[in-house]
Symmetry: C2
Subunit: 141 residues, 2 copies
Amino acid sequence: MQQMAELLKAQKLKVTPQRLAIFKILYETTEHPSAEHIYKRIQATHPTMSLATVYKTLDTLKKAGLVQEFNVGEDSFRYDANVNTHPHMICLTCHQVFDLHTDKLQHIKKYVEPETDFDIDFEKVFFYGTCAKCQKAKEKS
Amino acid sequence: MQQMAELLKAQKLKVTPQRLAIFKILYETTEHPSAEHIYKRIQATHPTMSLATVYKTLDTLKKAGLVQEFNVGEDSFRYDANVNTHPHMICLTCHQVFDLHTDKLQHIKKYVEPETDFDIDFEKVFFYGTCAKCQKAKEKS
DNA sequence: ATAGATGCAAAGTCTTTGCATCAAA
DNA sequence: TTTGATGCAAAGACTTTGCATCTAT
C-alpha cells in the first residue's frame, strides 16, 4: 500500500485516502468488482465517499496504468488491480469472473502478429463456461 | 437472405422485414456496428423502424444464436453476424474493429482447459493495437 | 383468428459532468 | 497558498419496458 502512494506520486497524482481505499479493495480481491461493488464495499470504511468519486478514481487509476478495465458482456465494467495481461474465465451460471493463471498464452500476440497488418500492443482473452462449483451443482440435479 | 428466413423459422420466430433488414446489414458489413449505427444505416431503407425494435431484434437474434455481441471497451455493444469464434482486432487510434482471419488460435480452448477446473464453452479474444492505415499516418507525422 | 412483433414514449441503468467546498503538497 | 480532489446533484448515454396497434402465420 505504501507502494501505491509512490505509484501515485510518480504520476504526479495526489495521494488521497479515497484513492488508497479503492486501490486496496481492488488489490485484495479476486472478484473483479464493478464501480458499484466497490462503492458498496467501501461504505464500511469510508461511508462518506460518493459513487462519483469511485468512478473518477477508477478512471484516474486506469489512465495511470494502475488498474485495468474490461467488460465481459454485462451492463457494467469490471476492474482489476492486476494490470499484467492475463486471461479471464467467466462462469455462465454464477457469473463470477476468475483469473486464469497460465503461461500457455504468453506469446499469442507474437504468434498472431505475422498474420495481420496490425501493430499489436496487448490482448484481452476471455473464456466462457462453467466453474467447478457450478459443474458440481449441475451434476446433483 | 432466403437462408435467414429459414433460420428464423427454425427458431419459431416470425419473419419480418425489420428482422431481415437488420440481419442483412450485419451480414454485409465488416464494421461490427452498434445498435445506434445499425439504426442510422437502416433509415435509408426502413425510415419508420424504431431504435427499440433494433434493440429488441438484436436481442432476439442473439438468443437465437444468429449474431454475437461483444464490448471492446466502449460505451456500447457491437454486433457481428459471424457467430463463429474468431478473434477481433481493435485499433486504438481510429477505433475500428476488424476480424482476424487466422487458424492459429483454433485450439486455445483445449490447450488451456487442463490448466483450469472450468468446463469451457467458447472464448473471446481481442487484440488491441494500431491498424495499417493509422501506422502509416503516424509515420508521416 | 391468434400469437407474436413493432413503434412510441417513458423509465431504468450505468456513467459523466459542473461546481462549490475541501485537502494534499 | 495553490493545485487538484471530493461530494452532491443534475445531466447524459445506452438500453429496456409497457402498452396499444399492427402483421405474420
